[in-house]
C-alpha cells in the first residue's frame, strides 16, 4: 500500500465543499489500507508541507482548495505568502491530484512528467456545487471529485481515474439536462459541470499508480 499526503484548506465557503471532498478522500484512502498524512486548514502551508515532504516518501499528493496558475496556495490568506506548492518546486512523487482552479496551466506542466509522473488538475476554473431545494448538487460534486481518489486507492492507474471522473461528469451533465424542466437550478450546474469536464486534464504518465 502507498503513503499519501492529503492537503486541504478551509478558508471560504467554496472550500467547505472541497474540504468535505478531502475528508471523504481520507476515509476512502484509509479504508483501502493506505498510510495517510493530513495537512488541513492552518497546516496547509509551506512549512508544514516541507516538513512532511522531507520526512516521507509520498506516492501521491491530493490537494483540495484554491488554486492559481502557478501555485497551490493552501490556507488563505497566509497561503499567498507561504504557498504549499508553486512553480519551481521540484516535488518528486507519482501522482498529484489537485481539486483547485487553474493549477495545471503552469504548475502542472512544470511538475509533470519531469518531477511528478502524473498531474491531474484543472487548467481553468473549478466550480463547486451547493445543495438546493430540488437536489443536493453538492453530493454530486463530492461523488465526482472523490472518484479519482477511489480509483487510485484501489490500485488502478491515474489514466483510469481520469476516465472514471470524466464519466461521472458526463453522467451528471446528462442528468441535469434531462431534468431542467423540473429542477430550477439544473441549468447552472449542468453548465458548471461541463466547465469542469472541459478544464480538467491529465499531464504526464497515464499508467502511474500510487501503489
Amino acid at each position: 500500500m502507498g503513503k499519501v499526503l492529503v492537503i486541504y484548506s478551509l478558508d471560504s465557503i467554496p472550500t467547505t465543499i472541497s474540504a468535505e471532498a478531502a475528508s471523504r478522500s481520507i476515509r476512502i484512502l484509509k479504508k483501502a489500507g493506505h498510510d495517510v498524512i493530513e495537512l488541513g486548514a492552518l497546516k496547509a502551508l509551506k512549512p508544514f508541507f516541507l516538513i512532511s515532504y522531507f520526512f516521507n516518501r509520498f506516492d501521491a499528493i491530493f490537494y483540495f482548495g484554491h488554486g492559481l496558475e502557478d501555485m497551490l496556495p493552501g490556507q488563505l490568506p497566509l497561503g499567498l505568502i507561504l504557498p504549499v506548492l508553486r512553480t519551481g518546486d521540484r516535488i518528486r512523487t507519482k501522482v498529484i491530484y489537485a481539486v483547485a482552479c487553474l493549477s495545471s496551466k503552469k504548475l502542472g506542466r512544470f511538475l509533470a512528467p519531469r518531477y511528478t509522473r502524473a498531474y491531474l488538475g484543472n487548467r481553468d476554473y473549478t466550480f463547486v456545487a451547493f445543495p438546493a431545494t430540488e437536489r443536493n448538487y453538492a453530493d454530486d460534486f463530492l461523488d465526482t471529485f472523490t472518484t479519482p481518489v477511489r480509483v487510485l486507492a484501489e490500485g488502478d492507474s491515474v489514466g483510469t481515474a481520469f476516465a472514471e471522473m470524466r464519466s461521472r461528469m458526463i453522467h451528471y451533465i446528462s442528468l441535469y439536462e434531462r431534468n431542467m424542466h423540473r429542477w430550477p437550478n439544473a441549468d447552472y450546474y449542468a453548465w458548471a459541470m461541463r466547465e469542469n469536464l472541459e478544464g480538467f486534464e491529465l499531464i504526464g504518465d497515464y499508467n502511474a499508480k500510487i501503489a
Binding site: 466550480f127 437550478n185 441549468d187
Partner: protein
C-alpha cells in the same frame, strides 16, 4: 405598477455583487456595482432567477402585489 428592488451580496464578504443577470419571468436586468437591481412588473406571481458564472444559482417564486425589497446572499462557486 409594483417595483421589485433588491440587493445581491456575497455571503463570504457581505459585498454587493455587480453585473449579475436578474430575470423576473421574461423581464431581465442586471445588478449595478453595489449589487442592487430593480424591476417593474404588473402584480402577479413570478419566478425570480439570478445567474452568474461565479455564484450559486438563485431561483425563487415571488408574489408581487406592492413595492418589495429583498436581500439575497449568494455563495461563490469557484475554488
Amino acid at each position: 405598477m409594483p417595483i421589485l428592488r433588491g440587493r445581491v451580496v456575497d455571503r463570504d464578504t457581505g459585498r454587493g455583487i455587480a453585473f449579475l443577470v436578474v430575470a423576473l419571468n421574461g423581464k431581465t436586468t442586471s445588478t449595478d456595482p453595489q449589487g442592487e437591481f430593480e424591476i417593474f412588473a404588473p402584480p402577479g406571481t413570478y419566478t425570480l432567477r439570478i445567474r452568474s458564472p461565479f455564484y450559486e444559482p438563485y431561483t425563487r417564486e415571488i408574489e408581487l402585489r406592492e413595492d418589495t425589497y429583498i436581500e439575497i446572499k449568494l455563495r461563490r462557486t469557484i475554488l
